[in-house]
Amino acid sequence: MAAVSLDHVLALAAVLFAVGFVGLLTRRNLIVVLACIEIMLNAAGLAFVAAGARWGQADGQVMFLFVLAMAAAEVAVGLALAIRFRQAMKSLDVDDADRLRG
């Protein structure tokens, strides 16, 4: 079976990344926002795996493991913050967080 070319994987990663970013721009629910960040991070991680495959090194996959771990930590804190956010703003709507301005 022919190996998947680097360009295709990178393209997929880019598309996923864009999807995540657009989601960030358009969705208002804080949980969904966190999920979009996850999509972006994983897309970037995918790009790393592809890059590692291109050079035949394990470094890409190691970086992906790091990304995974970091994303998990971030989401843990993020969800705790989401709870606090709900308590403070009485909703999970990100647009409600606009008191700090100017």
Binding site: A47, A51, F66, V67, A73, V77, F85
Partner: protein, 486 residues
């Protein structure tokens, strides 16, 4: 990794151990004073291990980190700054309805992240350090979670930091995909040999800069700065404004050193545009800010713009200017935000201009400290800020970066206006019978003898180094000399 290597990375180990010890101590016995003492002791020990590490021969430990003179200089700076922030935080936290011990743990882990950043010579360490720093900050910013402002600030920071981290990683991946290297040395070669045809590499570099630019609060990645500075508790703002920026900038110099060599290159242009925009936007946005924390946030954007100008000037002398200005910026910012911290009360931070009205009469020492700090930020002679700016202008003129230098001088002059606004407010006598600012009557501010003493000592440092900067300058020159200058 051998035992010898362990000695070389002893500062990192010391710092980690401190964090763990403070965490365990909190589990066994909840005591604010104990936590502070352990923190300060650990930071002092870390500072001590710098000398152990300095005596080692082989400085690179695995591909990931290098404990050379440059690293050690910045580790010293970051640990000292963290210690100052910890001291200033004590009284502030004591009057809040929060559990203070975990604060110090987070502070230490954040510093660990920063220290890793400074020591890193590989993308993996870069990424790890950045994330440890960031995640710790998410929790720190939201520490006073009962205040809606803090939660809002933390959410904004988290989302934006997460998104820009994704950009960073993607950029790293692209660069790795094109060039096969993830080390700092490799990056330097990539940047030095960059030609316009390497589109993917350039895109990767730009995306990498997005992540860096966010942390440094450079335009156009600066939007979070005023909101987070305003919402976060004052000592955390101090930390965000100093350590997180200092660590990232130190790393920038190591990874992207050759950018300054080719003034026509794409990356150079991008950074020049960012610097110019930051200087302009930072100073203009601060002009009539009534919130002191927001004003200082915008001014920090401008200062990072100045630093990028120094970074873009080629040569070892410019590097020394960067290191010196980082010290100047860190110490001055700690002093300025330290004053804000010390004046804050349990219900709100002292962030409105009205809180400072008549301060000269009520609390002359604090007012004098703030005046010196603001004048140093403005770059008036006799302060460390003047020497720093002078060095940058000299470096910039030497590299013929005329547009940027002129912009620096002009925007600095604009900056003088909003700094003197606060100074004027402090010395105009408050009207009879008016409450100091909008604080509830009877509220006590977070002033303690150690905090005030620290601020006075910092002020003395600002003035002394303004008059006799040679020792610090020599130290900065020594630190940057180990980097491979072209």
């Amino acid at each position: 990794m051998t035992a010898a290597d362990l000695l070389t990375v002893s500062p990192l180990i010391a710092l980690t151990l401190t964090a763990v010890v403070v965490m365990l101590a909190a589990a066994f016995r909840r005591s604010h004073a104990l936590a502070l003492r352990l923190t300060l002791g650990g930071l002092a020990a870390t500072f001590g291990t710098l000398f152990v590490a300095a005596s080692r021969d082989a400085r690179a430990v695995t591909l990931l980190v290098s404990m050379d003179a440059y690293t050690l200089f910045f580790i010293g700076l970051l640990t000292a700054t963290t210690a100052l922030v910890a001291i200033l935080s004590y009284q502030y936290l004591a009057q809040l309805p929060v559990q203070p011990e975990e604060y110090y743990v987070l502070l230490l882990t954040a510093t660990l992240g920063g220290v890793t950043l400074v020591a890193s010579t590989h993308f993996a360490a870069f990424f790890l350090g950045l994330e440890i720093l960031s995640v710790s900050l998410y929790a720190l910013i939201a520490y006073t979670a009962r205040r809606a402002a803090a939660v809002e600030a933390a959410v904004k920071y988290l989302v934006l930091a997460g998104a820009t981290s994704a950009f960073l990683i993607f950029g790293m991946a692209l660069v790795y995909a094109e060039t096969g290297t993830m080390t700092a040395a490799g990056m330097r070669d990539v940047v030095a040999g960059l030609h316009p045809g390497a589109v993917v590499t350039i895109i990767g570099l730009v995306m990498l800069l997005v992540g860096v630019g966010f942390k440094l609060a450079l335009v156009p990645f600066h939007m979070w700065t005023p909101d987070v500075y305003e919402g976060a508790p004052a000592p955390v703002t101090t930390y965000v404004a100093t350590v997180s920026k200092g660590a990232v900038f130190a790393l920038l110099l190591r990874f992207l050193l050759p950018v300054s060599a080719d003034q026509g290159s794409a990356v150079f242009l991008a950074l020049a545009a960012v610097a110019a925009a930051s200087m302009l936007a930072g100073n203009l946005l601060a002009l009539r800010q009534d919130n002191v924390k927001r004003m200082l946030a915008y001014s920090s954007i401008a200062h990072l713009g100045y630093l990028v100008v120094a970074f873009l000037a080629a040569g070892e002398r410019a590097g020394a200017a960067v290191a010196f200005y980082l010290v100047a910026y860190l110490t001055t910012t700690v002093t300025a935000f330290g004053v804000v911290t010390v004046l804050s009360t349990a219900d709100r931070d002292a962030d409105h201009l009205l809180d400072y009205r008549g301060l000269g009469a009520r609390r002359p020492v604090t007012a004098a400290v703030f005046t010196v700090a603001l004048l140093s930020l403005a770059g008036l002679p006799l302060t460390i800020g003047f020497i720093g700016k002078f060095l940058i202008v000299t470096a910039g003129s030497g590299a013929a970066l005329w547009t940027l230098v002129v912009l620096l001088v002009v925007t600095s002059a604009v900056g003088l206006y909003y700094y003197t606004r606060v100074i004027v407010a402090m010395y105009v006598r408050a009207p009879e019978g008016a409450q100091a600012g909008r604080t509830a009557p009877g509220a006590r501010a977070a002033t303690g003898a150690p905090a005030v003493f620290t601020l006075v000592a910092l002020t003395a440092f600002l003035l002394a180094t303004g008059v006799y900067p040679q020792p610090l300058l020599r130290l900065a020159e020594h630190a940057v000399s180990v980097l491979p200058w072209p």
